[in-house]
Symmetry: C2
Subunit: 117 residues, 2 copies
DNA sequence: CAGCATCCTTGGCGATACTG
DNA sequence: CAGTATCGCCAAGGATGCTG
């Protein structure tokens, strides 16, 4: 059990932090069906600010999860896509999404029960 | 419309937010091998503050992911354990942990490459 | 032991304006 | 179009002290 996410300064906790980032999860999910332009991502991910989208994409790129491809055209065009590593992560993240939708009603029922007392 | 995490006010995004919470993930992982006392959780999860531990546990309890059992003893004893719902979530979260440890080196290599540019 | 209440800081994030 | 740069807020979260 060497890389231990329970240890404060372990790298694997940083990885978990990135996985756990709400915007990262949504970006990876959005890239599930192939590469997307910056604007497409901004459009599909409701409520994300320009700043957070850029910041999230930079982080994912840095971690080797997405690629950033700049096309030298006018107007400029930048495509983002999942790497192999990113696709391996997508499997898990898609599982989270499925869990969330599948158990949404159950969670909301539990919340109602909790709030009622 | 189907539960769509990309929509700003969809409940499933709230579920994803909870899943994505770093402390929630670590608490669920810590409860993987059976119930734990409050103090045990505080001890095993390095760096968590009392406030955040309590807050996280309340959230997870409210969502029906953990149970909270108060034993009427002196000194008081409170046990936390995963519900069935929590265990179904554990499967996914454990997958995240495994992914994180398995690909940690790869991620760090990507970061080094990125930073060296 | 297992918490709740308070204060206080910091940095995350949105909003806005500007550029190649 | 796809960003960078800057400002400002406020709420997340740490530290501390108190209680059943």
């Amino acid at each position: 059990m060497n890389p231990d996410p329970f240890s404060r300064n372990c790298g694997s906790r940083k990885v978990i932090d990135r996985i756990g980032d709400r915007w990262s999860v949504l970006v990876v999910l959005t890239l599930a069906d192939g590469e997307k332009r910056y604007g497409e991502l901004a459009e599909r991910i409701d409520g994300i600010s320009q700043k957070m989208l850029t910041q999230t994409l930079r982080g994912l790129e840095r971690d080797g999860i997405v690629t950033r491809t700049v096309h030298a055209s006018v107007p400029p065009r930048v495509d983002y896509a999942l790497t192999d590593l990113g696709r391996s992560l997508l499997d898990l993240v898609a599982g989270l999404e499925e869990w969330a939708t599948r158990h949404l009603a159950e969670v909301e029922a539990a919340q109602a029960r909790y709030d009622a007392r």
